[in-house]
Amino acid sequence: MRYLPLSDVDRADMLACIGVSGIDALFADIPRAKRLECDLDLPARKTEMEVERMLSLLAAKNVAAGAVPFFVGAGAYKHHVPASVDHLIQRSEFLTSYTPYQPEIAQGTLQTIFEFQTQVAGLTAMDVANASMYDGSTATVEAVAMAHRLTKRRKAILSGGLHPHYAEAVRTYAEMAGDDFLVLSPDILGAETFDTLVDADTSCAVVQNPDFFGNLRDLSDVAAICMAKGALLVAVFTEAVSLGLVKPPGAMGADIVAGEGQSIGNRLNFGGPYVGLFATKSKYLRQMPGRLCGETVDASGRRGFVLTLSTREQHIRRDKATSNICTNSGLASLAFSIHLTLLGDAGLRRLARINHANAVALADRIAAVKGVKVLNETFFNEFTIKIAGDAAEVVQRMAEKGVLGGVPVSRLLPGKGLDDLILAASTEVNTDADRAAFAEALQGALSC
């Protein structure tokens, strides 16, 4: 088998050296009755060619985003990833290396983590960021847990503009821990207020910007309300490119920031692997979960980097750890960092402006379609459309016509009377022809 270097001669020699007659002697501790006497009921091995053939057939059954006019967002976004990003993350030394626990032979990984942490802190305008978490939703769960530890309170208020999957994940963990939470009703217009909601039992308010419906929110008001009551503001984002053009959470008083970094450097990948971004203020550093990389010097006086403040983590604190997290997003966070290095401030801003311009162009087009209304006053690259019809059916019909025209809100929020809403995103990959196709398909789907 091509991945197994031992030959039968090797195996025989090694068994002799060990001093046993056969390989099964080394499995003797498995109770006889529970040993498998023959191979599992699974197919025999396939050659590389056969695997390619089989998986290509499966892949061909899916409609790739790049093959059609594509406007699907709702927490994951199609952006162009430069060829050098994917090339670099496939370098052996990045792809096949482990967590940098032996820093002398892992400075490649460690320095890139340090750069990533700096980039994330700068993007979010916060003091310090960690080495990444699994994704935006679990980063949000961790942010709430961190707020509970800091305030010694156990009730979170989840905005009605928070991505429903994120809210559900926070809810699951809260129910398991016996914590309190309040989920506000879906806030389509971004109009909810928190004055009467935050009280002495509240540990944090969790607010997303741009929100799930695309609205832009000024978080400073919520931040002030929280501060007055001794609570914390957890600011969430699902579209990292928005930070190139929209006021960052750190500039609006956020205490903890949890976000999704997929938009930068990472493909859609049907939902994973993605990259959770996590940042906070210096004073909260010791309660921050996840890996951290810090600068230091080596025995020769040269600058170097090491994982640090590990005593917060599971392998030392066990049940008292700040989190149970073990892996970070490694390669996905490296891809994020490389793409951002290529972009720089100038490139990121330009990319964000193109995204916004395309979304504005799409909104203008849609305004011309009968029976359709764009609800948002403000947005970045995604907004909510109200139609005269069932959104899920309309989106399905559009797909049958070869246009992936957004996400019906009812897919994530069923049974809430939001069945006539579609979320449409437009990034730099969309052309005029795409937008025309969208409008046409939408029109056609509505008149069925």
Binding site: R286, L309, S310, T311, I316, R317
Partner: protein, 124 residues
């Protein structure tokens, strides 16, 4: 003034109803370079055996238990900037906190210097 020791390597140096609490030289050697100490708030009431503080080194974290019951009246602010004092001078400048004892009799059940030394000897 009497100094007593616990099996978990804390010491308490008692004088006139007040006790200075810290960790022993053995404990600091085991921990390695101390990087951070978390101390309780002034006014905190502790029972004997309660978790009073945590001490973190590069590779380990340990709880510091209250050797005696009482109220925290002072904490060592110098440890915030210089956690290394715990390594350099654990029984002197590396002290953690001062307790006002609520039950002076508790001291008698702790080990004295000789008993602690014997305890360390037996464990090694």
């Amino acid at each position: 003034m009497t100094t007593r020791y616990t099996k978990s390597h804390e010491y308490v140096r008692v004088e006139g109803g007040m006790g200075v609490v810290g960790i022993t030289d053995h404990a600091q050697t085991q921990l390695g370079d101390v990087v951070f100490v978390e101390l309780p708030p002034i006014g905190q009431r502790l029972s004997k055996g309660d978790e009073a503080a945590t001490v973190e080194s590069v590779k380990a974290a340990a709880e510091v238990s209250a050797p005696v019951s009482g109220t925290v009246v002072e904490i060592n602010g110098a440890l915030a900037d210089s956690p290394g004092l715990v390594n350099q001078d654990p029984t002197g400048r590396g002290w953690f906190l001062k307790i006002e004892l609520s039950d002076a009799a508790e001291v008698d059940s702790l080990m004295d210097e000789d008993a602690y030394r014997a305890f360390l000897q037996a464990a090694s």
